[in-house]
C-alpha cells in the first residue's frame, strides 16, 4: 500500500471511503491517483460511496468542542518559560561581570577604610556586615 495503488477495485474504494471519509484529498496520498481513475471510470458507484461517507462526515462535524476559557489561558501562560534562565546568562555577560567586579572593588575599599579607622572588635563587625551586604546583593541577582 505504501508505494501507490495503480489499480483500485470497487471494494478497496469503498473501504477507503469508510475509513477516511468522503473527501478524497484526505485519503492517503498513495491511493489518490488510483481513486481518481476509478472515479472517472465509474462515477455513479464512486459518487454514491463518497456521498454516504460525506453524510457521516457532516454528522461528525456537527459536534463542535468548547473553546478554552481565559482562566486556562492565563494559567498556561503563567507557567511558560520566563526570562529566568536567561538572567543567569545575562548576569554572566561581560558587562554584568564588569559591574560585579566594580561592586567587589568598592566593597574592598569600604572594608579597607573601615579596617584602618576602627578598633579590632569594630573591624570584625564591619567585615561581617560588608560580607553580608555583598552576599545579599549576589543572592538578589541569583534569585532575580
Amino acid at each position: 500500500m505504501g508505494r501507490g495503488e495503480l489499480a483500485m477495485t470497487r471494494e478497496r474504494f469503498e473501504s477507503l471511503a469508510e475509513a477516511y471519509g468522503g473527501d478524497v484529498s484526505r485519503w492517503p496520498a498513495e491511493t489518490r491517483e488510483a481513486a481518481a481513475l476509478l472515479m472517472a471510470a465509474e462515477p455513479d458507484f464512486t459518487g454514491a460511496a463518497l456521498g454516504r461517507a460525506e453524510v457521516l462526515d457532516a454528522a461528525l462535524d456537527a459536534w463542535r468542542p468548547a473553546h478554552a476559557g481565559s482562566a486556562l489561558l492565563e494559567r498556561i501562560l503563567a507557567a511558560a518559560p520566563q526570562a529566568r534562565s536567561r538572567r543567569w546568562i545575562d548576569w554572566l555577560s561581560p558587562a554584568a561581570l564588569g559591574a560585579g567586579l566594580a561592586a567587589a572593588c568598592v566593597a574592598g575599599v569600604v572594608v579597607g577604610v573601615e579596617f584602618s579607622q576602627q578598633s579590632s572588635a569594630a573591624r570584625e563587625v564591619a567585615v561581617s556586615n560588608t560580607l553580608t551586604a555583598i552576599s545579599s546583593s549576589l543572592d538578589l541577582e541569583e534569585g532575580a
Partner: protein
C-alpha cells in the same frame, strides 16, 4: 511528504523565554489540544486539565527539544493522548457498569436545538466506541493528521489504523442511522 517541522523554530524561541513565541505556540496548539481532549473524554473541564498538563510538559521539554527526531505536533498528540488515557483508566476504576446516558430521541422543534441534539448524539456515539477506534477517528477526522502520522502517534501500522477507522465509522453509522441514512 514535507519533512520539515513547522513548529521547530517557534519552539526554539520558546526555550529562550521569548514571550511572543510562547503566545504564538499557545495560540497554535491550545485549540487542537482542547479539541483532542473533548473528543477523547467528552468533557470540557477535563479537556482543559489535559491541555494545561500538556503545556507544562511542553514548557519543560522546549529547552531539550532535539530537532529532526520527531515532529513536535506528533509528540504533543502522544503526550495529550497519554494524559487522556490516564483519565479514562481512572474513570473505569471508579465507574463500574453504569450505561452511558441516552440522548433524547424526540424531534427537535427548531434547527438550533436540532443542531445541538446532533452534537450531543455524536459526542455520545463517539464516547461509546472502544477507545482505540475513537482515538483513530479523533486523530484522522477531527485532528486531521495524515494516516502515517496518526499511525505513528498510536503506535500501530497504517493497515491497523485503517481497520480501526473503518470499524469505528461503521459503528457510528449504525448508532446515528436515522441521521446518516438517506
Amino acid at each position: 511528504m514535507d519533512d520539515t517541522d513547522p513548529d521547530e523554530a517557534l519552539l526554539a524561541r520558546v526555550a529562550e523565554g521569548d514571550a511572543a513565541a510562547v503566545r504564538a505556540l499557545v495560540g497554535r496548539k491550545l485549540p487542537r489540544l482542547m479539541s483532542l481532549g473533548q473528543r477523547m473524554l467528552g468533557d470540557a473541564a477535563e479537556a482543559e486539565d489535559v491541555a494545561q498538563e500538556a503545556f507544562l510538559r511542553v514548557w519543560k521539554q522546549a529547552p531539550r527539544w532535539r530537532p529532526g527526531r520527531a515532529k513536535f505536533d506528533t509528540w504533543l498528540h502522544r503526550v495529550a493522548l497519554n494524559l487522556c488515557y490516564d483519565r479514562l483508566r481512572r474513570r473505569r476504576e471508579i465507574v463500574t457498569d453504569q450505561p452511558p446516558e441516552q440522548a433524547d430521541p424526540g424531534p427537535a422543534p427548531d434547527r438550533g436545538l436540532e443542531a445541538r441534539d446532533t452534537s450531543v448524539r455524536v459526542s455520545r456515539a463517539l464516547g461509546a466506541l472502544p477507545d482505540r477506534q475513537r482515538e483513530a477517528i479523533v486523530l484522522c477526522h477531527y485532528q486531521e493528521l495524515g494516516n502515517i502520522e496518526a499511525a505513528a502517534v498510536m503506535g500501530v501500522s497504517v493497515e491497523a489504523l485503517e481497520s480501526l477507522l473503518g470499524r469505528g465509522r461503521r459503528a457510528l453509522r449504525a448508532a446515528l442511522a436515522d441521521l446518516v441514512e438517506r
